[in-house]
Symmetry: C2
Subunit: 409 residues, 2 copies
Amino acid sequence: MPEINQNYNLLQKSYLFTDIAHKVAAYKKANPDHRVISLGIGDVTKPLVPAVIEALHAAVDEMGTAEHFHGYGPEQGYSFLREAVVREYMARGVSIAPDEVFIGDGAKSDIGNFQELLSADAVVAITDPVYPVYVDSNVMAGRAGAPLAGGGFERLVYLPCVRENNFVPDFPAKAPDIVYICSPNNPTGTVLDRDALTAWVRYARKHNCLILFDAAYEAFITDKDIPHSIYEIEGAQDVAVEFRSYSKLAGFTGLRCSATMVPHSLKVGDGRGGRVELNGLWNRRQCTKYNGCPYIVQRAAQAVHSKVGKSQVMKQVAGYLENAKALREGMAALGLEVYGGVNAPYIWVRTPNGMDSWGLFDHLLTKAQLVCTPGAGFGKSGEGYVRLTAFGTPEDTAEAIERLKGLSL
Amino acid sequence: MPEINQNYNLLQKSYLFTDIAHKVAAYKKANPDHRVISLGIGDVTKPLVPAVIEALHAAVDEMGTAEHFHGYGPEQGYSFLREAVVREYMARGVSIAPDEVFIGDGAKSDIGNFQELLSADAVVAITDPVYPVYVDSNVMAGRAGAPLAGGGFERLVYLPCVRENNFVPDFPAKAPDIVYICSPNNPTGTVLDRDALTAWVRYARKHNCLILFDAAYEAFITDKDIPHSIYEIEGAQDVAVEFRSYSKLAGFTGLRCSATMVPHSLKVGDGRGGRVELNGLWNRRQCTKYNGCPYIVQRAAQAVHSKVGKSQVMKQVAGYLENAKALREGMAALGLEVYGGVNAPYIWVRTPNGMDSWGLFDHLLTKAQLVCTPGAGFGKSGEGYVRLTAFGTPEDTAEAIERLKGLSL
């Protein structure tokens, strides 16, 4: 009889959003007249922009004619999109080749799958709090070790990001093989500046450490001095893979497209005393277990890079950032400590008076009918904070702020 | 320094289609006036049908309005599509629940990823010749063992499918944990009848063996007595996962959509002495490393299940089957032994006079400017055969047959 991959037995049940949904449902049932506003989930609310819709319609029409129909595409993505990504980097002074760009169906898939290329005994470091996919994909691969009684996993190295270190992860005592860094950060909404990124690139080069850099929220960077890509730091192409997404940039959460950069200069141990490019391994993985992003979706993504498309999506991003600003100010006016939300769509709010994160969740739900995400759900160091998202509609966000005004804490 | 997953070092370079491309390019360069017709690759040539195009345009329009926009969808697929798949099964007398149906971005991804759920020491059996993804995904997971000098892998169990056994795999001496079965078969174009499938289901039940059943080509079954689904065999839901695809049914090779069925009654060892449903594990895998098939693509797939959509796609399938018939007859008229192509889009031709499969490839290319796929590329038991596909245009297929008429072998 086949047995399962026993690493799946080590996974912790992901109760966070289920627990939230149950609590919200119970509240709604008990209070049918109250309208609950969700600032909890990280999904966008603005529709696809006209340039994208136009590109989709045109591509769909192509697919309906024998002459312009597109069947199997390259697993790595069409040249027209890989080259558009290259030009995006060039505009920031970063030189990357089209065959170092891999188009995928989302940063979640790409980040979740990328760890497959690495040995099962590699030591993995993650920031804490953290996007759960980094943890769970490594648990499934047997890289995390046993779950610990107090939460977390035995073999993972946790890098706390808290107000005491300005949400910049300190270097671990012993260098890990792999480190996941997300900036602008989910969930804290904070960002690594040029100095912090430079220090991490130097550290990785010195200690032969691979950085898996999640740049899914780079479009929300407003500060001119903050790098949008880790490749803006010299030497980063030797140590870092970068993951980009169209989800939050252009509202592609339901359309699915991503770009993952694997520079040729990035080499790791081949297990036989030599070094090998991860580029070739990722290419082989994608050719074996993936069949390419839909042609019509790649045409839609190409439109995001056009002059008119970019102007349209950046207006949406600016709208979300206005929500973020209003939420920051609303929470601060309550006397709360607020982080993030300037270069990111997430606002990270410290709970008052030693309240725990589920306590503030309950308070906001019952007193203001607002749903947030308790920080404890993102890891131990998330306790004492809650996450708000700026992805609501402007109307809901404005009403949420009105409700906050009357709140006592 | 991180080291790679060393199983990647065991992968055999996939030269088949590269070698073919090089040979064809060299021939074209030397013979610029000759028009080469490809019956080699398995990609469709007919465009998406009108019902699908209409559904895509409508869904794209929804995505352009705030009111009807769809962001993150369920990782498992939308209910409207899962339920459409359920009704498709019901029409064949098979009862399956919507939460046993998982919508994916292609059978290649689903089949490639599914093995992750199983232990690394599981013994895997594959038919030979075989679709390379079954092999390579298991090599990457460390399940195949070392490559053998004569081709193949140490720990894989090969089940030859040759004319001597009517292309029906015999049961292995020792029961494997997992067996991949593809019917209608790629590359042989042959099909397992009800008796053969029943025998395999019984064998799997008796020996606690998991069947991964690839039904990607079921739409091409013309014989009324051949099951379209392994679940038409009693008891199969306790032992089999079934993979379906919209690629060859509806020309979705460039649109990407699949359905994978994981019945709740299918349980395997949990590594702790108990049994566990694979359904929950696959759900967890997909929720961690996948973010759902695009909404617009799922609406397109739903249209394939509509009355008008189905009638349109089945006309295309019938067209491809006419190509298959013509190719069968054309090859048979040359005195060649021909298999498949009746319930499948592939024709499996035995090479004459002990010629090897690359020999016939060269002969067809240089004497008739036709490209086929040498059977040896699909495994040891593929030697002595070549594969032709019925997915060309009717015009190219007709011309190919004309050219065959003048061919001496």
